[in-house]
């Protein structure tokens, strides 16, 4: 390889996105350094990077959010670039600033662009000036209840309360009538305060039956800003995306072109560099409204990679190294259809309640057009300290019908035991005729899945039968044949450390 771009990249993240960055670096022949908290001593990213350095205890603000510590490690271990992944420090302008002072390249946008776009209120004003369409609502954060009440009346109910510093559904509330406005504002402020340390919230018109459609953009240091088409992320539970796809069934090539041009306009107006995502709300009449621009690689970036053939993390690294966007990337088209399902540690049969514990079994689906971006393995402890995403399952097929079939099969073949996931829930979404027909609004789960009941009693006999067979592995035959005398074999526990410990005693 002619140019390795960087000497060594520090990956300031954990889980599947840390693995994703490590894999991109391996592809380019760039060594990686992982940082980890004491909770992640045995995590997959810790053992996969070329080097790994412990940076602190489990609470994020003492490890993964500790900018000074991370910069120190980068300097000490001779890293000339830092990739922040998503979450944690990815949208914190203090990191690119600290990098700048330390002479380290931050793989992402400038602190200024981050600051502008990180503030939903300021960025709306900026984009309105640039001529990008916006949802009607408050022009700035509300100070008094009266201001909110007035704005709500003007926009017309339902309205949406959103955190100024927010994202990912945190600090967000739909309000359908004036009576519940006050308590919703309070709840949103409480969540916003806890999640972002800032309880500023604002209000806007709530568009019924919208789709969430976003455009991937790339901008280099040579004045080139391009988009890489859309992703539709309408399937959300509690405002959290769980299934994403591209192309969107809703867009004509004419509207696609218009929205893509608007996305490029947003990035240019913000002076944006590197990879980012411009989010739009898309209504049933073909109208679209700028929501926000995310200043990082997104969880759902793989579907774009599958249909365009571009490796977005590689492009991030190339752009950060000062390279122009290559001709290969500039000449892309959309090919086939791609869907992503997020595999969260949550109970799809019990209102997506977070689940924690040890992964006892982990088998990933394989085959043509199936991709798994995972941050866990058998034996991984899934705690409550961090984001509950375990892995992402992505498929690609020539058309949407085939992609749906492939995803359903792949979800069935993806076996994770020990913690709950919502694989069965997502299979039921994909098998729904409304999903199949492409009527994917952000209200999909509320509308079509609310009455969903899974009767596990139906399969309890089957479950008991297989459990009996599995018990054979659990009992130690050498002890004797009788049922009473069966006892667990000391070697049958999952978890390598226990073995050494037992012998050691």
């Amino acid at each position: 390889m002619a140019d390795k771009y960087f000497k060594k990249i520090l990956v300031a993240n954990r889980g599947e996105i840390a693995m994703r960055v490590i894999n991109a670096c391996r592809l380019l022949g760039i060594p990686t350094l992982a940082v980890y908290s004491t909770a992640d001593k045995e995590a997959v990213h810790t053992r996969s990077a070329d080097e790994a350095v412990e940076i602190g205890p489990p609470p994020p603000n003492e490890s993964y959010l500790a900018i000074d510590r991370i910069i120190d490690v980068a300097k000490q271990f001779d890293c000339d670039a830092i990739h922040p992944g998503y979450g944690f420090l990815a949208e914190n302008p203090l990191l690119p600033e600290a990098c700048g002072k330390a002479g380290i390249i931050f793989i992402g946008p400038s602190a200024d662009a981050m600051r502008l776009l990180g503030n939903k209120v300021q960025s709306r004003i900026k984009m309105a000036d640039a001529g990008v369409p916006l949802i009607p609502g408050m022009k700035s954060a509300g100070a008094s209840l009266e201001q909110f009440e007035e704005a709500a009346e003007k926009a017309g109910y339902p309205v949406l309360i959103k955190a100024a510093a927010g994202g990912g559904g945190k600090g967000m509330r739909i309000v359908r009538s004036a009576e519940t406005l006050k308590e919703s504002i309070e709840a949103a402020m409480r969540e916003a305060k806890n999640a972002f340390g800032d309880d500023t919230v604002y209000l806007e018109k709530y568009v019924e039956n919208p789709r969430h459609i976003e455009f991937q953009v790339l901008a280099d240091n040579h004045g080139n800003t391009i988009h890489l088409f859309e992703r539709e992320c309408s399937i959300q539970r509690r405002h959290q995306k769980i299934i994403e796809e591209t192309p969107s069934t809703a867009l004509t090539s004419e509207i696609r072109e218009k929205m893509g041009a608007a996305a490029v306009k947003v990035a240019e107006a913000a002076g944006y560099r590197n990879a980012g995502t411009v989010e739009f709300l898309y209504d049933t009449e073909g109208g679209f409204y700028f929501l926000e621009m995310n200043t990082r690689i997104q969880v759902e970036h793989p579907v774009t990679e599958m249909v365009t053939g571009v490796d977005l993390v590689v492009e991030q690294i190339r752009i950060a190294a000062g390279e122009p966007i290559s001709d290969y990337v500039r000449n892309i088209s959309q090919r086939g259809h791609s869907i992503e399902c997020r595999i969260y540690a949550e109970d799809g049969e019990d209102n997506f309640m977070p689940s924690s514990g040890k992964i006892l079994y982990n088998e990933e689906p394989v085959g043509p057009g199936i991709r798994v971006d995972s941050g866990v393995a058998a034996g991984t402890m899934v705690g409550v300290e961090y984001d509950p995403i375990l892995a992402k399952l992505i498929v690609h097929a020539p058309d949407r019908d085939m992609a749906i079939n492939k995803m359903i099969n792949a979800l069935k073949d993806y076996r994770i035991l020990g913690i709950k996931t919502s694989r069965r829930f997502m299979i039921d979404v994909l098998e729904h005729t409304e999903f199949r027909s492409g009527r994917t609004y952000t209200s999909f789960i509320e509308t079509h899945m609310a009455g969903r009941k899974v009767d596990t009693d139906e399969v309890s006999s089957l479950a008991a039968a297989v459990s009996s067979a599995a018990m054979m592995r659990k009992v130690n035959a050498s002890v004797g044949g009788g049922k009473k005398e069966m006892r667990p074999s000391p070697w049958q526990t999952i978890g390598p450390w226990e073995i050494g410990m037992r012998i050691g005693k």
Binding site: K170, A187, R190, E191, N194, A195, R238, D347, E349, M353, P354, S356, K358, L360, Y361, E363, V384, P388, L411, K412, Y414, R415, I416, L417, G418, K420, T421, R423, R424, M426, I427, V454, T456, D457, V459, S460, S461, L462, A463, A464, A465, V466, S467, S468, A469, A470, M471, M472, R473, K474, K483, K484, Q492, T493, I494
Partner: protein
């Protein structure tokens, strides 16, 4: 070889026989022919149905994956008790637990209050999200063990209920 499992408070009895290539397990009227494919992965055939099911045993539970659906069965211990199974806590409808360790954001009921099934009882914050916990059965609030802002684990009930007895 006989085994017992607990699912949703019900005991399921199985009887297993070794065959030339695996085992036959009888549960109620059905017999399942089961072959181990690799450790933790089983092919099951019964009444023309053919499925691959994953199952591991850990502590006093079995964990299963049936076409993406996750089921846990409790394994009764020698003295007849079981701590396991998704249904094991269902017997404790008179206790409201936090779904996971977190912080109590707001208690929505007071001691002495009468509540219907599914009445919102408490909001707990964990993993940066608010989770509302509802009553699993109708009853009267007997005792509240925590206050707003308290840290809670999943072992101590937040609220204890006096359950209304129904005809059953």
């Amino acid at each position: 070889m006989k085994n017992e499992f607990i699912h949703n408070d019900e005991l399921i009895e199985t009887e297993m026989e070794i065959t030339s290539d695996g085992v036959d397990v009888a549960v109620g009227d059905s017999t399942y022919h089961i072959v181990e494919l690799t450790e933790g992965k089983y092919r099951v055939e019964a009444n023309g149905m053919k499925k691959t099911v994953c199952c591991v045993v850990n502590a006093d539970k079995t964990f299963l994956d049936i076409d993406g659906l996750l089921i846990e069965l409790g394994i009764p211990s020698e003295d007849g008790n079981s701590s396991g199974g998704a249904g094991a806590v269902a017997g404790e409808k008179d206790k409201i637990f936090a779904p996971m360790p977190g912080k109590i954001v707001k208690l929505l009921v007071k001691e002495g209050e009468t509540v219907a099934e599914k009445t919102p009882m408490v909001i707990v914050e964990a993993m940066k999200m608010e989770h509302q916990v509802n009553a699993a059965a109708a009853g009267v609030v007997k005792k509240i063990n925590f206050a707003d802002g308290d840290q809670v684990d999943t072992e101590t009930p937040i609220i204890e209920l006096e359950i209304e007895e129904k005809e059953e």
